[in-house]
Amino acid sequence: MLDNKLANMFLMEIEEMIVELEEGLVSLEKNPLNYGLINQIFRAAHTIKGGAGMAGYFLIVDFVHVMEDILDKLRSKKLTVTKEMISELLKAVDVVKQMKNEISSKDSIDENPSYQIIQDNLKKLLQNKEEIKESLPEILVEKQYEIILKLKPDGLKLNFDPNPLIEEISKIGKITSVINPDPTLWNILLKTKEPISAIKNIFLFISDDISITIQEISGNAVIPAKAEIQSDSTTLEKKAEANFSDKKIGEILLEEGKITEDVLQDALSKQVSFRESKSSSFIRVDTEKLDKLVNLVGELVTGVSQISGAAHRVKEKYIADTDSDDLVTSIESLDQISRDLQEQVMLVRMVPVEFTFNRFQRLVRDIANELGKKINLEMSGTETELDKNVIERLSDPLNHLIRNCVDHGIETPEERRRFGKDETGKIFLKAMQKGGNIIIEISDDGKGINRAKICEAARKNGLIAGDGSQLTDNQILNLIFEPGISTAEKITDLSGRGVGMDVVRRNIEDLRGRIDISSIVGKGTTFTIWLPLTLAIIDGMNVQVGTEILTVPLLSIIEQIRPKKKDIKTVEGKGELVNVRGTYFPLVRLHELFHFQTDYIDPTKALVLVLESEGRHFCLMVDNVLGEQQAVIKALDKNFIKIDGISGATILGDGKISLILDIHRLEKIAFNKT
């Protein structure tokens, strides 16, 4: 039991650490001298090792240990970052991932010869006694600094003694001179290889009454790089991360009576609280608990709105009674509170897209290397938040679109040079919120989409007749979302078989979103995805068929019309078509499809909704439209079974249940497709 708990905790932790490793390594490749980053990667590897040891997965311990060795040597500058090394380390991360998957599926790891190969490769890297290039910024040539300490006018009573400080300064370099022209001024000259930040760190505990100026001097000329010391929390934070023994200064200052015990403890606790605030600002919550919470709050909202309805009826009955006024006002404020509560609870499920987006750095790097292309993935709006369920299901379609950008969109460096473009291609991944929607844009500055090729492929597949000249540009571009269309000249491992874009669109429509494309030849292609903020709530239109009320997702509704007699045509006496401003769309009678009884059988008396599913339009006949509603979706198969054409149920204001239509499936049922 305990083992299981440990294993579960480990699995949860390792997932994050793997992501951190992967992201860290990919960005390390771009900034090989970022030692902060190396430290971060090292810590991630170390955490994995520690967790694996605790949970008893020693294969992982052994494996990560070698990675850690390399990272440690990088950290201590005994090795330098190479492209090969990053590739090997990333492969090693993949092994750890695989091991993790094995653990979660069968709680043990099998020996695998390929693990050994990768481990051996890592060990080879370790033995590479490559000399470190001399251009590392950390190993600077010796520089001279002038440090000026000046007591402020009222600082004299501090009885300031600079000697402990001078001693501390001498530890990081050579003090060439100390001039003390008057009791409030010290002028220290220091020769050191350490960066200016190291000097600043010494003065963190100095009181505000002393002004400190550090200047770099080359020869006798003073370089205008001035640095005032600030004793605010940001410097403390840097201090906390730096490798200097902060306590020591604190202790010295304390011994010398320069600061009181309280001040020292305060400063130290600031550091500690800074560290703590970073680690305790998040808690892990089982998503099942969240779902329950969302459900309960949804019920609360319906419950309150039912009471509110009853209260209004009571008020109408006893209109003269002031108590009934009080009842209505207090219930209305309760109603507002419960809605606010619902909104807040929904927010709990939201997570930033950052983590999903960051994973694509690795994808782009790997494919670009494989294809010999140079590509930068740039991101913005990564703080945009989306329902966790949406994000999880968005990962696959995004993956596919980005693969497409890398594979088909961006040209090879030679091609790009020929077109006068920067050798390095760019892919932008952008997220933003607009109203109740999240918009995600994937764009590249590649070659754009060749319309003629799409038309040719569509003609071959029998999707269009003729050369496509009768279609609008937008219609042509949208053909790439049809099954079997590919414009790739050669089929690669990654894409080009023409399967995929139709799946991408279906995945996004399953999330009740939609995808658009725009493309300029020679300039690039942009895919825009609209998504609802959450899957738990749907904007719906309530419609009536006979005695039943059904909910149609608002996103699928193009418009609602009441057709005139002349707008309805039949084919072979049965197939009904409705003329919607010049285009004929097939008519589906919902009551026939669902076998519901209704008096509305004449389309000119009933209402017709024009719906869109996967780019196809059709008309759905209902009795009447009742109005819009934000519906909390409940799964039908929780207590029952899935019903074809129904995506779920929702509870109406009066407590009745309304079924939510699955327009995508409805279209398939109506037109006899499976």
Partner: protein, 169 residues
């Protein structure tokens, strides 16, 4: 010593249960008395209307809102191919939990809770008439009453619902 004490308690508990037998909630459908194991019954509610579900077996009358849960309801009269009866405010729905799913069964009226010992239950006999006895666990006899004990899991077999929905596809 300690173990003996527990054995003693266990024995007493067993005796208590066996003296009362298993408990059944009994109800009437078309003047016949039926019984369901009380452990499977969650609650009993009155009829307040349903929402129809398209394209399912006719005995699935629809879904109702049970404190926010969407619960399907079946009519035993239709299931047993008996004459249908109009629902009114005295129509009762027995809410049962079958393999983790909550469902409602429409019955004419709920009568009682009875305890039946093993010797008060006789196995399902064969019938001359062509009726489905698959979902009958046995027959309970107590004094004058004769109770048909239902195997609720078999009545609410999800395969049956699914078969219907497969036909539509």
């Amino acid at each position: 010593m300690k173990d003996d004490t527990y054995d003693y308690i266990d024995d007493t508990f067993d005796n208590m249960v066996s003296s009362e037998g298993d408990q059944y909630v009994t109800f009437t459908v078309a003047e016949e008395e039926y019984g369901i194991d009380i452990l499977q019954v969650q609650e009993i509610i009155s009829y307040k209307g349903f929402t129809k579900i398209p394209n399912v077996s006719s005995f699935v009358k629809g879904v109702l809102n049970l404190r926010g849960a969407v619960v399907p309801v079946i009519d035993l009269r239709i299931k047993f191919k008996m004459e249908e009866k109009k629902y009114n405010k005295y129509t009762v729905i027995v809410i049962v939990v079958v393999s983790g799913k909550t469902m409602g069964i429409i019955v004419d009226a709920v009568s009682d809770v009875v305890g039946l010992n093993k010797n008060e239950i006789q196995p399902t006999p064969e019938f001359a008439a062509k009726i489905n006895t698959d979902f009958i666990k046995g027959m309970g006899k107590k004094k004058d009453s004769f109770i048909i004990l239902l195997d609720i899991e078999k009545i609410l077999s999800f395969e049956e619902f699914q078969q219907v929905s497969a036909i539509i596809k």
